[in-house]
Structure formats: structure tokens, C-alpha cells
Amino acid sequence: MFIYNLRLAWLSVRRNPILSVLMVGAIAIGIGVSTTTLTVYHLMSGNPIPDKSNQLYAVQLDSRSKEATSTDPPTQLNYRDAMALMHAHRATRQTADYITSLVVHPPRVEQKPFYAVARVALSDFFPMFEVPFQYGSPWEKADDESGAQVAVLSHDLNQKLFGGANSVGKSLQLGDRTFRIVGVLAPWSPTPKFYDLENNHFGDTEDLFIPFGLTVPMQLQSSGNTNCYGSAGDGTFTGFLNSECNWIQFWVELPTQADRDSYMQFLNSYVQEQKRVGRFPRPLDNRLQNVTEWLNFNHVVSDDSRALVALALLFLGVCMLNTIGLILAKFLRRSPEIGLRRALGARRSVLFRQYLVEVGIIGVAGGLGGLLLAWLGLWGVRNLISDGARIAHLDWLMVGAALLLALAASIAAGIYPAWRVIRMAPAAYLKVQ
């Protein structure tokens, strides 16, 4: 029966090729536009670390001066507070990190030195954020603050310097110091780049990683955001470290709610203690935000992309209205045929099914066309948006969603016209003939 329905539907689609193309085209464009915007939204709002997103917390301490006007505490810590929290070891895992620029001297002499972005971090960074290793491992915990000159390379940098070979154990000159490579990452690009939303929400991961303990001996400075509340120090590096300039991101891993609560208590008591020595002039406002909360807090999903989704769905609405109109026109034109079939004893349900199969065919064709358009649209978006490659590619979920949406939209568009035509009295259309 279904095959028979299909064959009749196909005949009908072919009878009015222009009308059919118009219907398929309208559905395809509607689906193409919606899928494009939904994909961007879906990838922007993705959870980069689903199994741990409610165990990792960004730490905020309100160390600002009285004059600060914004309602939220800074998103980074200053060196003093970061060191105090680090040495307290109150979390299951913790990392203090920032980015800096280092001159890399390639081992191959024919390559010129170049700047690389290094993340200065603690060894917990890697297990906390589930960073995959291709070779080697993170540096030892003991090297976090020992000043050991060890480095973990990104997959890309290892490719560039060593042609992708296992470089663990080799040495690498960074600035005027020689480092030992302890690990090489597998390709890793969390989207969004949740662990550092200060600089670029969808940026590349860093070229290499070195221990936080090198900050003082190498006098490293952040190449990311630095916000000062009050003096930036007396012009010396020590002065800068002791100033109220915030430039260090601090993350903790707290597996349970109880851990979170007790960490919060610890933060509050730390700040109370600091208040006694004249710091933290503002009312207590320390925060722990998990990954999901952190992404929202930092407005990772842009308002533009949300507005585009809203407009695209309205657009799909227009395409559906268009299709309903065209299907209705088409079905009504075939009224005599319906009259004939009804007069010969076809039941309404049979005819109804016939029409739904027909709009289903149009829907599937429209969905496939829509996918093609979405693929084109996303190609356009990749070229338009900075870091578009990360947030504009079709995945299977969106392909399935697009096809389902197309089918649902076309059937929804077909129900009313089908219902209208099967309700007509057969006699009216037989009379003329």
C-alpha cells in the first residue's frame, strides 16, 4: 500500500514540476537557513567538558578597590591571592594559569626563531581539563614550583619543530633558557575554550605549557588581560607581583557539593583574614562558578547568534506558510480526481494518507536540499566569523535534526490542505464531468 502511495505521490509531484520545485525550494531554503543558524548556536553553546562541567569551578575574589563600579568581581586573581590559594591546597585539584609569549629557538638551524604562546600553569591543569597526551605526560607535581625548566608541547608545535616525532626528553630553547620536553599533546581544541574566556572565546589552544613556578625566575608577564585596582607597583617585578593587578586565572576541581561548600567557606575566611590587614575593602563577594555557569557569565553564546536563530525560525514559518499555500492550491486543483476516487469508494483515511505521503516526499527532498544549503551557509559563516571553523561545521546531530525538521515542517504544512480536500463532497466535482 505504501509503495502504491509513493508511486501515486511521485506521479503527482511530476505532474506539476514547477509547483513541486517551488515547494521543495521553499522548504529547502527554510531548512537551510534554520540549520545554519542552529548549528552555529549549537556549537557555540556546546558543553566542552560534559562529564566534569559541574565539578570544575572558576574562582573569583572581590579584591577591587572601593571605587570600582561594575557589579561583578574580577574574573582573574592577583599574584598574592593566587599564591595563597595555591599553597592552601584546599581543592582536589587546582591550577593557576595565564598566557605569556616566549621566543622559541627551533632545533633546526634553518628555522628562524618565532614567538609562541605559552600557558603558565600547574601540573593539575592537564588531568583537570582532561587534556589528551600523545607522548609523555604532564610534569611532576614537585616541578610546579621548583623552577624546573620543563615543557609540554601542543600537537601543532611538535609538528612544526620535530615533524610530529616523539620529542619527549629532547631539549628546547625558550627565550634564553633551555627546557626539557616532558610531554606532547594529542590534538586538543575544546569549544568554547572554556578554561580561558579572558582572551578569545573560540581561540586556538596554546602552543606550549610550562610550570607556574617559572613566573618569578623568568619574570614572566601575562600577554592576556591585566586589570589593576590601584597602583601597578613601584616599577619593579616584585612590586608588580605584590600589586592589586589581576591577571591569573584560578580553577579548582571540587567533586561534590560538600566540597564546594567547604571551599567557599575557606575563600570567605581567607578574605576576612585579609580584610584585617587592610585589603579587600568591599563587602564579601567571592564566587565559585562551574563551567556552565562560567560560560553564561562570560556571554559565550553571543546575542547575535541567538537573535539569528529567532529570526531564522520566523523565516522557517514564512517558508511553511508559503508551502501550505502552494500545497493547498495543488490539491484543490486536483479536486475532481479526489471526487472520483471517493465516489469509487476510497475512504477518507486512505486519501489522507496519500496526501501525507506526497508532502512527505516533498519534505524529504526539501530537507536534503536544505542540508546542501546549510552546508553552503556554514561554509560562508566559516569565512565570515573570526574562528568560524570551530563553530560552523555540520555534525550528525544537526544533519538528523535538519531532516526531521524538514519532514515535520512539510507534514505540518500538508495536514491542513489534505484535510480540506478530503472533506469535500464528491458529488460536487463529478457533476461538471
Binding site: 531554503i29 537573535a307 529567532a310 529570526l311 531564522a312 514564512v318 484543490l332 573570526s386
Partner: protein, 403 residues
Amino acid sequence: MALHPILSATLRNKTGAILIALQIAITLAIVCNAVFIINERLDQIGRPTGMDVDNIFVIQSVGFSPKYNPADARRMDMDMLRAMPGVVDAAPISDIPLSGGGWGDALATKPGEGVSEQSGNIFTVDTHGLNAFGLKLVAGRNFRPDEILEEDSQSTDFPKVVIVTRAMADKLFPNGDALGKTVYEGAGGRHAATIIGIVERMQGAWVHWTGLERSVLAPIVYNQSFTRYIVRTEPGRRDAVMQAARQKLDTSNPGRFIQKVRSLADYRAKSYADDTAMATMLGVVTALILTITAFGIVGLASFSVNQRIKQIGTRRALGARRRDIVRYFMIENWMITSIGVVVGSALAVGVNFWLVNLFSIEPLTWYYIPVAILALWVLGLLAVMGPALRAARVPPAIATRTV
């Protein structure tokens, strides 16, 4: 021609008319809001920068050899760049305007703790800065060579003189008498500096910041291994000079490397990339929706023409001219479109209200609605033209046929 018979004929097949009217209504709502957002973004991108953006490029130089002497290298580089054919001027700078990264600082008009401050965006330059950026000095004077402060990277010293933009001057001194006044920088206002000049305009680093035009020029050059140079060329020669300068600098000093030689226009385009993307996507959506709606009108009008072939033939046989038939379909469509645009206007305001509330988008300017109404009327009439002309070609003889 009386509207009444057309209206009553339309009402006999309400569904098609309602569908088209609804489609036009939503189209109007989308088009109004989309075009409004597009214009808003394009206006932002097109704001005057105060600089000679199209003829400027930026170079980064990084010394890596232990023997590298930043001060000597800078002097040599500057002499070389300024002497190059096609170069108008060049200067060492700290941060790049329009790039998204810079030195935000606050200036006060009084020293002391807790006084009100105005945030601004500081750019360091030497005496060639004004000319290299192509800024227009509207009051006061440029820096003198003896006013340039040489600092290492750790230093937090501040120069004794500054040049500010008109926007910064007015923010600090609303009475318009900023020239010659003293401003205070740093904690407790420990550095005092005199405003010696005012430039008409200079956009800062963060293009989406409300204080974009509150820039401050400070006469500082840094003696550090990482430096940036800005080079302004004669009109039209930027790309050629950019390449030549890169080659010259690449080979002039073996103790450093050159990176990120990019035009200022490029930095600006990157800063506005998401706005450009939004405008482009909305442009595509607008074009597509107008096309779809036009095709929808064509489809339904064709259908209604086909259904009324006999009536058309009868009217023709009774003496209606071709143009009467065309007019009939045009008026019918115009009535349907009009209902659509009335409903659509309300919908456009509703959609905009919703966008404003949820997505921090500006409220719609009123005149977008009448313009969009006009556009849809024209679109509707153009779309119905084809089917209407086809209807006009129906021969009167058809009225006499039975089937």
C-alpha cells in the same frame, strides 16, 4: 473600479488570501528588523576613526639575541623606515588602535585617593606619532623631542605631558578648556601631566567600548626586545611598501625576527568581523525571504487565475478590456498585501520589542516600517504582474466552451 466585487470574490477563497497575507506580515516583520540591524552595524563600522586607516600598517619586531640592543635597533629601524620611498612617517608604538588589545587607564582632574576618574585608552608614541597616525591636531602643539620618556618594560613612570582626543578632553573638562590643564594618572594621582595638545579624533583599541574615542597619547618609547612600529604610506602604496619594509627589516638585524606585518585596516576588519558576519547573514536572509514571498505570491496568483479562467473569459466576452483584467488581479493582490503589511507592522514592532528585551538590540527606528511597507507593495505588484498578464490573454471565446 469598485473594490467590492473584488473583495467578495476574494472572500470566496479566504484560505489562500489569508496565507499570503500572513506570509507578507511575517516577511515585513523580519525584513524591518533585519535591515535595521544591518544598517546599525554598518554605521558602527563606518564611523570615522580619525586616522589614515587605509594607508597605515603595523610591524612587530622581536629581539632574541643576547647582543640585541633595543634602543639602537629602534633608532636604526626608524631612520630606515622613514627614509623609504612611499613612507609618509613612522613611529614606535605600544598598542595598536582598533585591534582589541591595549592599555586602559584612568585619568583624574585632581590628585588624591577616591577622586572621580575618567577611563581612557593610552597609546605611546614619539614625536612622529601624530603624523604617522594621520591625526588632526585641533589645538595646542605636538610633543618635543626632549619630552619623550625612554622606559624599560617594568617601569611605571608617566610623562609630564600628554595629547588627548577631543572626546577625552570634553569628558575630563566639560567646559571645553582642557588645553593646558593638568591631569593625574596612577594610584592617588601620583603622576601629573599637562595637556599640551588636542586631536580631533582617534579611535582606541576596543571598537565596542563606549569610550572608543577617549584616547590619550603619551610620549613614551620602550627599550624592550618586543616593539611595534606604525608606518604610514602615501595613498595607494601601502601594500608595496609593507612588503619592502618587511624584507628590509628581516635582513637588517640578525638578532631579531619580524612578525605580524599587517595593515591597520586588517586589524579593524578583524575587530568588526562578527558585525560584518551578522550584517551579511541578515542580508542573505532578507534577500531569501523576499524571494520566497515573491514566489509564493506568483504561485497562489497563478492558481487563482487558473481557477477563474471561465469567469475571466465571461468578463472579456461581456466587454472587459485586457487592462481591466490585469487591474482586477493587481487590486486583489494589493488588498491582500495591504492586510499583510498592516498586521506585519504590528508584528515588526512586537519582534523588535522581543529582540530588544532578550538580545540587547537597539529599538527600531520608526521610518523602517513605512519603507518596508512600500517595498512589499511594490514586490507584491511585481510578483502578481506575470499571472495577471497571463489572465489578460484568456480569449473571450472560452466563456462559450463547456469544459
